[in-house]
């Protein structure tokens, strides 16, 4: 067992973990941050994406011990303290970019990472960037629109209803 300490959504967090404990488990089980979801066991689905030191990471593929000392951001830290949705979250609601909501935290965190590196992505760049995030509900149509809108671009230019 090892003691890990990290900053999660701006607050100090610590706990005792087994060497095999995944970051996703630490967030969900130890810190009760259950917004990070686990949808597969092969790093394919992307429901568990969080940011570690500013980089999008599949938290089911990283050991909690590896995140010792890191600055971690999860879906729970994205909205303003008064609950106001951030630009990406608001765009997902405005464009109906989610249905069951299970993949959504990962989609939002992946989008945040995309827009940091590429503030005005094209439709195709968005589609390619979502290669590691699976949604079974939306057919991606409205997710693409939401991300495009979150980047400040006019969704009418996409030619999608």
């Amino acid at each position: 067992m090892a003691q890990v300490t990290m900053t999660v959504n701006g607050k100090a967090a610590s706990g005792t973990v087994e060497g095999r404990t995944l970051l996703s488990s630490f967030l969900r089980e130890t810190l009760d941050l259950t917004g990070t979801h686990v949808g597969c066991d092969t790093s394919q689905c992307g429901a568990c994406v969080v940011h570690v030191d500013g980089v999008a990471v599949k938290s089911c593929t990283m050991l909690a011990a590896e995140a010792d000392g890191a600055d971690v951001a999860t879906i729970e830290g994205q909205a303003a303290p008064d609950g106001t949705l951030n630009t990406i979250q608001q765009a997902f609601q405005d464009h109906h970019g989610l249905q069951c909501g299970f993949c959504t935290p990962g989609m939002v965190m992946t989008t945040a990472a995309l827009l940091k590196d590429n503030p005005k992505p094209s439709e195709q760049e968005i589609r390619v960037h979502l290669e590691g995030n699976i949604c079974r509900c939306t057919g991606y149509h409205n997710i693409i629109k939401a991300i495009y809108a979150a980047s400040g671009q006019d969704v009418a230019a996409l030619g999608a209803d």
Binding site: T34, G39, G83, Q99, P105, H141, D161
Partner: protein, 793 residues
């Protein structure tokens, strides 16, 4: 109906979804987010062979491992019932289907890879998993029966020793028509024959299944938290048939559920196990499926092998249709498995066409594979795929235009009684095809084909119609057909003292947006703001006995119950208002949340009436009870029949066989639409699943060993964002359902039903445009299959 954006609230408005806020902020409450103080964890040791005799399960070493609470095997469940099947199909000889026992944990034999053999309950999941590795299982492997044609052969290895064969049933429909159908084929001018496979799929909701059992000795109350589309159905099946727990001692909670697509309808062993073990161990017991477990334990979908024949006269009128299908049941009968290839498939074989004579034969087979049951569309995609592929093939053989051939044979007069036992109440198939030609820009296709050719690609256009029977179902009808349950739904409308409303519904929302759309209806009826109304669902201790969400039934059936209950509320509220206004209740009008006396300026607000109901100081207590809460059960008089026309345009790369979807258009008739934004989203998602079936997805078993070859997202191809285009969807063609109060038909499955044939038709068209006379390719149309078809043509 107005288009998106014209209506700001109530019926017809694209109200933003209120549930999104919790999902977008990580505040959803999915089953795996629930942890109960003192809970233990269960890990299931699952069979790694497809078929074998279970000689022994030695748990002695494992039981001594750290943290182990108790280990269970099949012997512990001998006294409880098997997992039941909810539909008894009668075969063509009038005999009931063969129905093997489906044990909670394997006993005597294992019959598919993934079948649970033992369950380790421990203080932590890691300890449970470690201990499971120490269990010694002795299995004598038997030959696996994987291929349905092999399973059907004389002398085949039997999946169940106590059954007479691997044949679950041999179903003929309509048996009395068989002779006339054969006669029509003898007299046909042209017969088109097509052998096809409807590929086996895994539903793959993104949230894996979870179950938590809890038991309170103080009041002998069991609680099961589970990822279900229908908590009351689980309570009934598990309580009455498996564990023998009376309903008043069993609560089933299905909180936020991360997608269902059918596979979360069914009652599973893990639910029964956790409920049973919580009492046995006197601790809450939690199970969370991994994705790998999901692939080998969630019920799969489709898996039909079919020969279909279409007979036409000299004028290209369809004169008869007949089909022979082998349908895979897997190793055991899942909850609705038996109904899918029969009543949910055979009754739709008329499609949108006035074919006068139809005969459907289905042989359902047991194999050493995961049970197969309803997956988005359930039987109707299989029917649609056959009909729309064989029509396309007939058009090509006859040199007919595929749109014209369809139009010529449309049902145009309603109500229309099909030769396969259902009556379409309303529809307008020409109008959806007109709309499709417009939004699919058919007139621009040839120019686009030439553009593709210039790039060295072959372009194809594929179209199809579909019809589905939704809103399942009239209970008396399905009862005659073998259903072991009623299929009504229920809603309780509880008006609170200050006028806000809680509506408790039997439907369950797991992505469909009920929490937003259902209040739009009640708000419209009363004339108050949607925000004054909340939906409560997913907890048998809070909601009336409704049958849940599947088969695109939520709004058509449960929504109708909600309308009926709201009508009762309004009728009672008018009596209260009449008392307050000193008028007759027959003179009271309700508009915009105000009750007024017709022809006067006397009025009283909704909130004053609701307050009077709960503070009945000035109240007609001699005539009516205080309070304002009403329940309605609604049992539909017919199915609903959503229908539409879909078009797909593909490009095929002749060098690689790679298919890309260039355009996709869907024109649907869903009757009236409550929230157009949500309806479009449902169609998008359905199309993506249909395209997935057509191009990418296929669950595969090794035909010898019975090993599951597609057991993760590494080898089962889920559609990704870059596999799919934007979709043009339209639902402005609206022929309202004639028999439910909202005039709605249901939209949840249409996309998955309507899209596979148009994709395949488009690829075949593309190959023909490249000069390759390929008649058919089975789904999924992977580059490998398409390349081989091109190069062997």
């Amino acid at each position: 109906m107005p288009k998106d954006g014209d209506i700001k609230s109530g019926i017809g408005a694209s109200s933003k979804r209120r549930e999104d806020v919790r999902f977008l902020t990580g505040n959803g409450n999915y089953t795996d987010d629930i942890n109960i103080r003192g809970q233990a964890y269960v890990f299931f040791l699952r069979s790694d062979v497809a078929h074998g005799t279970l000689n022994s399960v030695d748990t002695s070493a494992a039981s001594a491992m750290p943290g182990v609470v108790q280990i269970f095997t099949g012997a512990d469940f001998e006294a409880v019932g098997g997992i039941p099947c909810g539909w008894e199909v009668t075969d063509k000889h009038g005999q009931p289907m063969q129905e093997p026992k489906h044990p909670v944990l394997a006993h005597g034999k294992v019959r598919h890879v993934g079948e649970p053999i033992a369950a380790v309950v421990a203080d932590s999941l890691e300890q449970a998993r470690d201990a499971a590795e120490a269990i010694e299982v002795d299995i004598s492997e038997l030959p696996a029966v994987i291929n349905m044609k092999d399973a059907f052969k004389e002398g085949a290895t039997k999946v169940h020793d106590d059954l007479t064969s691997n044949l679950c049933y041999d179903w003929g429909f309509v048996e009395e028509n068989k002779g006339a159908v054969e006669e029509a084929f003898k007299n046909a001018h042209h017969v088109t024959t097509l052998d096809l496979v409807n590929n086996r799929l895994v539903a793959n909701p993104m949230e894996p299944r979870v179950a938590i059992g809890d038991y309170a000795r103080s009041d002998e109350q069991h609680t099961l938290y589970t990822t279900s589309q229908n908590p009351h159905v689980i309570r009934l099946l598990m309580g009455a048939f498996v564990l023998g727990i009376p309903e008043h001692k069993l609560r089933v909670v299905a909180p936020d559920v991360g997608g269902g697509f059918g596979t979360k309808i069914f009652h599973y062993q893990e639910e029964a196990f956790c409920t049973f073990a919580a009492k046995a161990c006197n601790r809450p017991v939690k199970w969370t499926s991994s994705r790998s477990e999901a692939f080998m334990s969630d019920a799969h979908g489709r898996d039909h092998v079919t020969t279909i024949q279409l007979a036409l006269d000299k004028d290209n009128n369809f004169t008869a249709l007949r089909t022979d299908t082998l349908a895979n049941m897997g190793a055991y009968l899942s909850t609705f498995a038996s109904s899918v290839p029969t009543w949910l498939h055979g009754t739709l074989m008329a499609g949108n066409y006035k074919t006068p004579l139809i005969y459907v034969n289905v042989k359902a087979m047991f194999t050493n594979t995961v049970p197969v049951d309803a997956y988005r569309g359930a039987g109707r995609p299989e029917a649609t795929y056959q009909i729309e592929r064989v029509i396309d093939m007939a058009a090509r053989e006859l040199g007919a235009d595929p749109v014209a051939l369809r139009r010529q044979n449309y049902v145009t007069e309603f109500p229309y009684a099909t030769p396969v036992a259902v009556e379409y109440d309303t529809g307008d198939y020409h109008s959806t095809m007109d709309k499709l030609e417009e939004i699919g820009d058919f007139s621009g296709f040839e120019a686009r084909r030439k553009e593709s050719e210039a790039k060295g690609k072959w372009r194809g256009l594929g179209i199809n119609n579909y019809i589905e029977a939704c809103g399942i179902a009239p209970s008396n009808l399905v009862g005659q057909l073998g259903a072991r349950a009623g299929l009504y739904d229920a809603a309780t409308v509880r008006v609170n003292a200050t006028g806000s409303i809680s509506v408790m519904v039997g439907a369950h929302s797991h992505g469909q947006g009920h929490e937003t759309a259902f209040p739009q209806v009640v708000a419209d009826m009363i004339g108050i703001d949607e925000s004054q109304i909340d939906i409560v669902h997913g907890d048998t201790s809070k909601i009336p006995f409704g049958m849940g969400t599947y088969g695109s039934r939520s709004l058509a059936v449960c929504g109708s119950a909600m309308v009926r209950a709201t009508e009762k509320i309004i009728a009672k509220a008018k009596k209260i208002a009449a008392h307050l206004l000193e008028a007759s209740d027959t003179d009271i009008e309700l508009k915009d949340g105000m009750f007024s006396v017709a022809g006067t300026d006397k009025s009283v607000a909704w909130g004053d009436v609701t307050l009077a109901a709960y503070v009945p100081h000035n109240y007609p207590l001699e005539d009516i009870e205080p309070g304002l809460e009403e329940t309605a059960f609604y049992d539909p008089s017919n199915f609903t029949y959503p229908a539409g026309a879909y078009a797909c345009e593909v490009e095929v790369d002749p060098d690689t066989g790679k298919v890309t979807i260039e355009r996709f258009a869907a024109a649907d008739d869903f009757g009236n639409v409550i929230n157009p934004m949500i309806v479009s989203g449902q169609v998008h998602g359905g199309i993506a699943q249909g395209v997935g079936q057509a191009l990418l997805e296929g669950c595969s078993y090794d035909q010898e060993s019975g090993q599951l070859l597609t057991g993760s997202y590494m080898d089962y191809a889920m559609p990704r964002a870059d596999d799919l285009p934007f979709y043009s969807v339209d639902h402005s063609c609206q022929t309202p359902c004639t028999h439910n109060p909202l005039g709605v038909k249901g939209c949840g499955e249409a996309g998955a039903i309507g899209s596979p044939p148009s994709v395949v038709n488009a690829v075949i068209d593309a190959l023909h445009s490249g000069g390759k006379k390929v008649a058919h390719i089975d789904m999924p149309l992977t580059p490998d299959r398409v390349w081989n078809a091109i190069n062997n043509a």
